[in-house]
């Protein structure tokens, strides 16, 4: 299971970076989304995957008796998902506006701010 996750995360990161490096603005957004998902899955994986072990202390004891699923990564992922969702929707609007105003979706042509003025 861990190996599968590791491969998926690697592919998501690689695809995300590759897409960000492309010249098209739409691919930029796709890259951002893939990268965000990759990071979230990474947190999930590194919180250790365990099956059928809820973090609930049995009634007749005062502490955990055996290994349990760590609830913290899930809280982290939830936060990170909400944040990256907000950022992604902002990015989509930004790219739409930029495309409308600059009249190109090619990042190489968006170089007016780097020029000497």
């Amino acid at each position: 299971m861990e190996i599968l996750f590791a491969i998926i995360i690697g592919v998501l990161y690689a695809a995300g970076i590759y897409m960000i490096l492309r010249r098209s603005l739409v691919k930029l957004i796709i890259g951002i989304i893939l990268l965000g998902n990759g990071a979230n899955l990474l947190i999930f994986l590194l919180g250790r995957i365990s099956e059928g072990a809820p973090p609930i202390i049995p009634e007749d004891s005062k502490m955990f008796l055996e290994a349990y699923a760590d609830p913290v990564p899930q809280a982290l992922i939830l936060t990170a998902i909400v944040i990256s969702f907000g950022l992604q929707s902002f990015a989509i609007i930004l790219v739409k506006r930029a495309h409308k105003v600059v009249k190109t979706d090619d990042l190489d042509e968006m170089n007016a701010t780097d020029e000497d003025s």
Binding site: G36, L42, L46, P73, L94, T113
Partner: protein, 507 residues
């Protein structure tokens, strides 16, 4: 009541931004509330600063969840100093925004977002939890995205695309680093991490995590070779926005670098070497970049990059003297850079251009104003007794002590090149005969606007110049402050003890 004291600066900013939203279209109300609120905030921050200065590090455990498990807010001297500087810069930019930002921008929520940005900054300085730091960073960048695009001009949107992409990438790398760190140690509390990271056996993985942090924060604080988004975007929004970005946004990256590499990843020779090399190259490339630019605001953008190098070099040397220099430089740099971008806005307002080729004759037209601008410009160069001079003494002493002569050479080279850049700027903008600048239509030139608004333009610049002068002439006090911070940073047991409690006395 006093227990929650350190949270009050944070809550006041939140309150202000919520309050401002109720006055969405009433921009005169917004201006008034923002300025009054910032004055109150400055007073409050000064009070909290004084409290922490006298009583030592204060901590708050959110919801009374005990330290390694819940989120803590830690106000050590470094954090609270930066909170104070944030409110100083915030007040100045708030007054300047009220005068300089056009009503169309104000009507779309400029001030609420501005205060959200300050909220994020203060949160980032105060938090003692690494994931919480990530969340504050996100609040900062989301607010800054809105501020940089507000108005929707062509150049702004182009700059925003680059700014957005790189900052998002930095956040993702930061998040990845947090994930790996959590996987290694199972903790998020920075004080707790300090001990647990030191105990991890797989040093290679720790090193990789540290490098991930370095890249994430490096993009945010614009160090070599990750700075290219900065000169492509910082000159595009209105100058009030650039002022707060230039003054505080890159510095929060530097703060995070200082915090993470003085607390969590300490005693790592490999990383200190990397930081030194990066710092040296940043000093060099930022300086050379500033030399060839012709737009006043782009010159200042490159100078931001150049001077980040001083702080990174100081952090790389990691002796008490070097850290004191870094902190002093940070204090000086926040005031001066905020001021410089406001000055570029004032120049634009007077002349209608920021191109050095076209500008000129400023000195003969506005001699008093020129003398005022002289103060921050030459503080930046570091002509004694102005403020940029003192931290360099510490940094140079430290580079002799540690025998890193390359950083010594870079520090002197960067000082020299800053001098050349500022001298060129002074000659072009203030002394040279003015060139032809096309008249702008529908533009409030400075000589056409009413007297109270003129004063509003100049007051924040005077205010920050006075702060700069104080840093220069009261260098002894600032040196005392930065030495104390350096002492706290080089010996991280104080911080850990404040957060986790002393294990011996706890029983």
């Amino acid at each position: 009541m006093m227990q929650q004291l350190i949270l009050y600066p944070l809550l006041l900013q939140l309150l202000l931004s919520i309050l401002l939203m109720f006055f969405w279209k009433k921009i005169n109300w917004q201006r008034g509330i923002s300025i009054c609120g910032s004055i109150v905030h400055l007073a409050l921050s000064a009070y909290v600063f004084n409290y922490v200065w006298r009583n030592g590090t204060q901590i708050i455990e959110a919801g009374s969840w005990e330290a390694p498990f819940g989120i803590v807010f830690v106000a050590d001297t470094l954090a609270i100093t930066l909170v104070l500087l944030t409110s100083i810069a915030g007040l100045a930019v708030s007054i300047f925004s009220a005068a300089s930002i056009i009503p169309d921008r104000l009507k779309f929520g400029y001030f609420p977002i501005f205060h959200f940005l300050l909220l994020g900054l203060i949160g980032a300085f105060l938090t003692g939890d690494i994931f919480n730091l990530y969340v504050w960073f996100e609040i900062i960048i989301i607010s800054s995205f809105v501020l940089i695009t507000l108005g929707g001009e062509k150049a702004q949107l182009e700059g925003a695309v680059k700014y957005f992409t790189l900052n998002f990438l930095a956040s993702m790398i930061f998040l990845t680093a947090i994930a790996v760190l959590y996987g290694l140690t199972g903790s998020l509390n920075m004080a707790d991490l300090a001990g647990k990271v030191a105990a991890v056996e797989n040093r290679a993985l720790v090193e990789i995590t540290a490098v991930l942090f370095l890249i994430g924060f490096g993009i945010k604080s614009a160090v070599f070779p990750l700075y290219f988004w900065l000169p492509a975007s910082y000159h595009t929004p209105p100058s009030a926005v650039s002022a707060i970005f230039g003054g505080l946004l890159t510095k929060v990256g530097v703060y995070a670098l200082i915090r993470v590499f003085s607390l969590i990843f300490v005693e790592d020779v490999f990383l200190d070497q990397i930081l030194l090399v990066i710092g040296i190259l940043t000093l060099f490339s930022g300086g050379v970049g500033a030399l060839v630019q012709n737009n006043v605001r782009k010159v200042f953008s490159y100078l931001i990059i150049c001077h980040i190098g001083y702080m990174v070099v100081g952090l790389g040397m990691f002796t008490e003297v070097a850290i004191a220099g870094t902190i002093f430089y940070l204090i000086h740099d926040i005031t001066v850079k905020t001021n410089l971008f406001m000055i570029s806005g004032l120049i634009f307002r007077i002349k209608g251009s920021n191109s050095m080729r076209a500008l000129g004759g400023f000195y003969s037209e506005y001699p008093k104003l020129s003398l005022l601008i002289f103060i921050p410009l030459f503080s930046l160069v570091g002509i004694p007794p102005l403020s940029g001079f003192w931290p360099k003494i510490s940094l140079i002493t430290a580079s002799f002590d540690t025998g890193s002569y390359w950083s010594l050479a870079a520090i002197i080279f960067a000082s020299f090149i800053t001098l050349v850049v500022i001298a060129k700027l002074w000659a072009e903008v203030f002394w040279k005969n003015p060139g032809k600048i096309p008249k702008r239509i529908k533009f409030d030139y400075f000589h056409n606007i009413k007297k109270p608004r003129k004063i509003q333009f100049v007051v924040p610049i005077v205010f920050l110049s006075i702060v700069s002068l104080y840093i220069g002439f009261g260098a002894e006090n600032i040196q005392l402050l930065s030495s104390r911070i350096a002492e706290e940073l080089t010996d991280n047991s104080q911080y850990i003890e404040a957060v986790l409690g002393n294990p011996q006395t706890d029983e």
